[in-house]
Amino acid sequence: MGSFWHALIEFFFPPRCPFCGINLAGSGASRPCSSCLSEIKFFAHPRCPRCGLGFYTVSGEDHLCSGCLSEEWDFARARSLGPYEGLMIEIISRFKFKGATRLAKPLGALLAEYKDPDFSFSEFDLILSVPLHPKRLKQRGFNQSLLLARRVSQAFSIPLDFKSLQRIRHTLPQTELSGPERKKNIRGAFEVKENRSISGKRLLLVDDVFTTGATVQECSKVLLKAGAKQVDILTLARVV
């Protein structure tokens, strides 16, 4: 019966590449087509073991990047699939700003497929997402990070928590600010409502884009203060 439904849906809604819309009848559904996948860049080694930034050099050992040498991060590790460039910018902006929430599925799947020898999903007790202020949430209608986090949570059966961490201050959109301003803007924006649910746990915080790290750093700070054992970050892309 399930396969019948599947076939019926395939007939009426032929599977298409979620990114470019090309008809993929016959191949697996809701996966990006190979040409789109080849257009997306993924980080490889060598990279910064702390913030996950990939280096342009082809060979060599992993080593801390200049940013992480000068910056004090509260999170243990941050990982991004690849640089915030080209097709990724376009897809994320469609997802985030044009309300194409159906992209949560393929993008979440990309996140869940993230592979790294020193990063395993099984080490996490709880998944969180960077919250939006209720005002922004009303404006946008959804929280893109939560949609991604939910996919990851489903893929690995790790519980999802979207209540404990909250945004209590309505801030200017980070996208409109520069590095130092961002830090200042975001300070004190988050609060943990329910210490009990996160204390002693290893958390994975999911967000869409890692820009300067100001937002996830601020979140990590309050989470650790509330008793979390460890906070790691996973984002789709990071600005390089």
């Binding site: 809604f13 032929p14 979620p18 929430t101 159906r102 209720p134 009303k138």
Partner: protein, 822 residues
């Protein structure tokens, strides 16, 4: 999916043109399906895939064949058509359709009462009630007495085929009663309970509007909510067509999108009030789910018109795509809608509103992204800096306006050739009119009307307030429509495009849209335009340098209408037909389509033999819709009758009185003689009415045509007295072959080789009179009758004469299989 749809449509079209026994096709389908299954289970998926279009093509073929060439059971109504009146009982299987002055009832027959008792019968019939007073409803079992008729097939080139039209609706027989009291309700509530529920809702809305909205707005609101256009009125309807905004009145994508958008938006807005819900629910999916039921409900309330159903399926497929997290592709949704509609009713393919509705949407989704590319210069210097300087709200308005303009342009271009094909009219103000009326009428009035309809069930006072506001806005809309339709050059009459021209026009449109995408689009476009112009030029040349004279006697029922094509391209129309009650205009429905099909927009000589309605009525439409150079009449009827007063006003200074004594004319190399009535003896009143008919004779080489009008014995005698040589090759028999005319002396002297009787099939007068017919047969004339032959066309080069009849074989209809398209 598109392939299967294409195959299915091809099957339907093929089945429209030829017919094979359904058992053969069934065998084909079985065979193909069997092979399909073998391949499928043999894990040869690709091979199976190739077969599925074939199966669907055969299905389409079979399906339409069963509609057009059915095998009627022996107790089918169709065998009862004829002169006998029957006492019939049946159930209304569709809600009654009120038109301007009539009501149409669709009856599924159950039994007939004969003296010996009742007998079960089957078959659907269309019962026309000649008033609008009935209170019958869907699901009523009714009884009535009427003769049964076979609907008329097309009998003239370019004319509408009513039999085929009804056959595609599975209606094979028509019947008529004069007023609603003759249809007796026996029982209520037959049929589907859900439809009753819907019908009760529709009735409530209808009654509210009948009481609370003034007549002119009522029709508009009913059209927007219930999909009923009967109350709009012919004149208003015509204005909407001229202004190119007719589509707003037929419930389609615009309206369905509005309903969906309203409920989608309202749900979205409500959920947004509770941010905690936003974290749990997917906002768009929830809102989409909330829009599903209202959209479906609206489609039912709106009477399940094709365009509405198409839009709803498209809308549902979008909503479903949203719910299933699928990439919503407009083409997929459109094809899905087409496929589902055609599976349920393959005849919809030939439905005008189906064609328009799909073509418009296809044009919008195909053309708009391509048109947008032509505006990419806005992204470059110097426009870019200008665009960036504008305040945000200003840009928003500009974007909204240009999107509206683009959409209406795409829809107009996409449907334009087809509008020309069906309505012989291209609205030039359409671009402008839509720009104003889509927001005003398409959105504001539709939304208000729908809200009113909804409130009828909850709060009558509120519904009344909304209606008042709505009526106010409708008046503005109607004023605008009126204004646009009056603009000079608001619309242009066009001749009927041929198949080749339609292909060329659409080819040009596609190439023009892809100038930026395809390298060879520009040369291709120029090439196609060249072919198009060459075709036009050749057509013009062929018409104006012909060597043949063509005379067509059209079948206008009881009445006369003949079209003469002169060798050098001139057109003469002699009478335009007419119906006794004026409800059917042969000028509009028969003569004009004939001329347009022949690619003519100009009439050089418009001739009225005498001002009786069955000759004159149709000429009025020709006068207002063709370029008419000269108008001839017999000088009668300056004062009598509204019809002839209108005629004289419309003709104005072009009008000339003709008659005996007028100098003979030469048009091309055709001689034109006026044999009757005598000019200048009008005051004597010797010849009046039929006897004053203008009698004309055309002579081309050795071949001559005598147009006898309606002259009777007295005038015939006068003609014989004054004319020396009367012999003519073809005679339009005077007065439709009635006993009053065609005296033995007249017949003897004219001695036609061909006698043309313009008579109505199944008419009350039982013409031609057997004695008259025999008189012609006795002198060796070959009779042609418009009731049996349809349009009768004579072509001559001055020596040889060829005759062509529209209906090929003269055999009548026997029992059993009935050809539905002739």
């Amino acid at each position: 999916m598109p392939l299967i749809l294409f195959a299915y449509i091809s099957g339907i079209i093929a089945g429209n043109y030829f017919h094979l026994p359904s058992s053969w096709i069934m065998a084909g389908i079985m065979g193909a399906s069997l092979i399909f299954l073998i391949f499928f289970f043999g894990r040869k998926g690709r091979a199976a895939l190739i077969l599925s279009p074939l199966i669907f093509a055969l299905l389409g073929f079979l399906y339409i064949g069963r509609l057009l060439y059915p095998d009627f059971p022996s107790n089918h109504l169709i065998h009862l058509a004829g002169d006998k009146r029957y006492h019939l009982e049946g159930v209304l299987y569709r809600p009654p359709e009120p038109t301007e002055e009539k009501t149409r009832l669709f009856v599924r027959s159950e039994k007939i009462y004969l003296e010996e008792g009742y007998f079960p019968v089957v078959g659907n019939l269309l019962l026309t009630v000649k008033d609008r007073n009935g209170d019958l409803r869907y699901g009523d079992r009714v009884r009535f007495i009427s003769k049964l008729y076979l609907p008329r097939p097309a009998t003239n080139p370019g004319a509408f085929d009513y039999r085929r039209f009804l056959a595609l609706k599975e209606v094979r027989v028509t019947a008529y009663v004069n007023n609603a009291s003759e249809v007796v309700r026996m029982q209520e509530g037959m049929g589907n309970a859900f439809f009753h529920f819907i019908e009760r809702g529709r009735e409530k809305i209808r009654k509210f509007l009948d009481v609370n909205a003034p007549p002119h707005s009522r029709g508009i609101i009913k059209a927007l909510v219930l999909g009923e256009r009967g109350d709009i009125g012919r004149e208003t309807n015509e204005k909407f067509i001229v202004a190119g905004v007719n589509h707003i009145l037929s419930i389609s994508g615009l309206h369905v999108a509005l309903v969906a958008g309203f409920f989608f938006g309202a749900t979205r807005w409500t959920i947004k009030l509770f941010p905690s819900l936003l974290l749990r629910w997917n906002l768009n999916k929830t809102s989409a789910l909330a829009a599903v039921v209202p959209v479906i409900f609206y489609t039912f309330i709106a009477g399940l018109g094709v365009a509405a159903v198409r839009s709803t399926i498209m809308m549902l497929s979008f909503l479903l795509a949203l719910l299933l997290d699928r990439e919503e592709d407009l083409y997929d949704a459109l094809f899905l809608a087409a496929f589902l509609i055609l599976i349920v009713s393959p005849a919809a393919l030939f439905d005008i509103s189906f064609q328009f509705s799909f073509l418009a949407v296809l044009a919008i989704i195909y053309l708009i992204p391509r048109f947008k590319e032509y505006f990419s210069f806005l992204q470059t210097w110097p426009f870019k800096s200008w665009v960036e300087e504008q305040p945000r709200w200003k840009m928003k308005i500009l974007i909204y306006l240009s999107a509206g303009l683009l959409t209406s342009t795409a829809a107009i271009l996409g449907t334009g050739p087809l509008v020309g094909y069906y309505f012989n009219r291209i609205s030039l103000v359409g671009f402008l009119a839509n720009f104003f009326l889509v927001p005003l009428m398409g959105f504001a009035n539709t939304l208000l009307s729908l809200l009113t309809a909804l409130l009828v069930f909850f709060s009558l006072p509120l519904a009344k307030i909304l209606t008042a506001l709505n009526v106010f806005l409708i008046n503005i809309s109607l004023g605008l429509v009126d204004l646009f339709s009056r603009l000079p050059l608001a619309s242009q009459r066009v001749t009927t495009p041929t198949g080749a021209e339609l292909v060329l026009l659409y080819g040009m449109l596609i190439l023009a849209a892809n100038l930026k995408r395809w390298k060879r689009a520009l040369p291709g476009l120029i090439g196609l335009a060249g072919i198009f112009v060459a075709l036009q030029a050749y057509g013009y040349y062929a018409v104006h340098h012909g060597k043949e004279l063509t005379v067509s006697f059209l079948d206008v029922g009881q009445g006369d209408a003949a079209v003469v094509h002169f060798p050098q391209g001139g057109i003469m129309v002699i009478d335009g037909g007419g119906s006794p009650d004026g409800s059917f205009d042969p000028g509009e429905r028969i003569v004009a389509p004939y001329l347009w099909k022949a690619k003519r927009k100009k009439i050089d000589y418009l001739v009225s033999t005498h001002p009786h309605p069955d000759h004159l009525q149709g000429l009025l439409f020709l006068l207002s819709n063709f370029r008419v150079k000269e108008v001839w009449d017999n000088g009668e009827g300056k004062e009598d009758g509204a019809l002839s007063r209108t005629f004289i006003t419309l003709a104005g200074e072009r009008l000339q009185m003709m008659g005996r004594g007028k100098v003979h004319l030469e048009i091309g190399s055709v001689k034109i003689e006026f044999l009757h009535p005598p000019l200048g003896e009008k005051d004597d009143k010797i010849f009046q009415g039929n006897n004053a008919s203008l009698v004309i004779r055309l002579t081309f080489g050795e071949v001559s045509f005598l147009f006898g009008g309606d002259v009777e014995a007295a005038a015939e005698k006068e003609i014989l007295r004054t004319q020396a040589a009367m012999q003519s090759t073809v005679l339009k028999v005077p007065h439709h072959g009635s006993k009053t005319s065609s005296t033995p002396e007249f017949v003897e002297n004219v001695r036609p080789r061909f006698a043309v009787f313009t008579v109505r099939a199944g008419g009350r007068h039982r013409l031609p009179h057997p004695i008259v017919l025999k008189r012609y047969e006795d002198i060796g004339a070959k009779p042609y009758r418009s009731d049996r032959d349809g349009a009768i066309t004579f072509v001559t080069n001055g020596k040889d004469l060829r005759v062509r009849t529209f209906i090929g074989n003269k055999t009548g209809f026997g029992p059993g299989r009935i050809p539905t398209s002739l």
